[in-house]
Symmetry: C3
Subunit: 142 residues, 3 copies
């Protein structure tokens, strides 16, 4: 059994982490899959999907850490330019952060529910907003 | 066909990489799945799952590299605090390393066995130990 | 339904990103899977699989960023040595980059096709070439 659900969100900051745990919980329940896995997958190259604790102070630590690892103020070959898919401007730092964070996360589905640890929340990470973004939730199993 | 197996381990160092390749091999064999995939998924936000070569010198290089990327001695907003899930103290560096390394790995299953390259071993990465930790091995296929 | 396909490539540079989007598209079509997921998985510990935009300037930015994060000219415990699997020399930087980038990517399969965003291409990343490399494309679903 396979269930695909597509979600569109509007980010409103350059860097932003949006909690999507509830969307994943509901997508799993509505999929009808009792036993299997759920994948959360972004459709963009300057965004990521990650798992972390939902703490405001942690969000700013993560953004600062990524900015330290991939600074804005050094020269890049990939200069700013317009993209066709709705982003305000091309950004090499967004592409590199996206590669470091990854394009998807994966979780078990048991008894019809996504299995998350007590501190785990799922986040859509914007690295080049504001923009309109799309991600998929794919539930597979029996 | 879906098989979920849950494993609990006790880490005994602040930073630690524990080889779990044999656990994955056995979980695939006992799952009865002949053809499909196996996912190894951590339940925590200051741990990771990674694939690498099993060399002691490499473990220390990886830990040093992550400490260089996410230093302990710079100010973070997320100060140390007790967690409810058994960790001795909250740690922003553990959360950031966890995001960089990722919450899971995925491998093919063929002829009833996990398919790994000759140099590939699977590791559970502790970034905020010592602690009791849980990970899932989910095998799906036919 | 499960389809495994194995691909071998020869990389010809120390650092290289090889676009494999067409291989993934064709593997999904030939798998016969209409609805499910496709995983692209590397068999090595000094390579990675990533998703990004296919722009030459971006490739050099990514390689420079990874070299900044994991410099060649600092001391590592894991000295250069011959590997059994065909690489010219062991390299600690390749192992660490591999961990940061990840061993696989995952995408939805709908209507018999891999679902990619408009800017998304799939890359095999070489971090210790030139070498002969193998990756798997595993399509699962119904």
């Amino acid at each position: 059994m396979v269930s695909h659900q597509r979600f569109t969100i509007l980010t409103d900051q350059y860097l932003q982490q949006i909690r999507i745990t509830e969307e994943v919980r509901k997508a799993v329940i509505s999929s009808g899959v009792v036993n299997g896995t759920v994948a959360v997958i972004t459709m963009h190259t300057t965004t990521g999907i990650t798992v972390n604790e939902d703490l405001e102070c942690l969000e700013s630590d993560i953004e600062s850490a990524l900015e330290r690892l991939v600074p804005e103020d050094i020269p890049y070959s990939h200069a700013r330019m317009l993209h066709s898919y709705g982003s305000t401007a091309g950004n090499p730092t967004g592409h590199i952060k996206s590669m470091l964070v990854g394009n998807h996360c994966l979780f078990p589905v048991m008894d019809g529910k996504v299995v998350l640890g007590g501190a785990q929340d799922i986040f859509f990470c914007e690295f080049d907003g504001p923009s309109q973004r799309t991600y998929h939730i794919t539930v597979m199993g029996e």
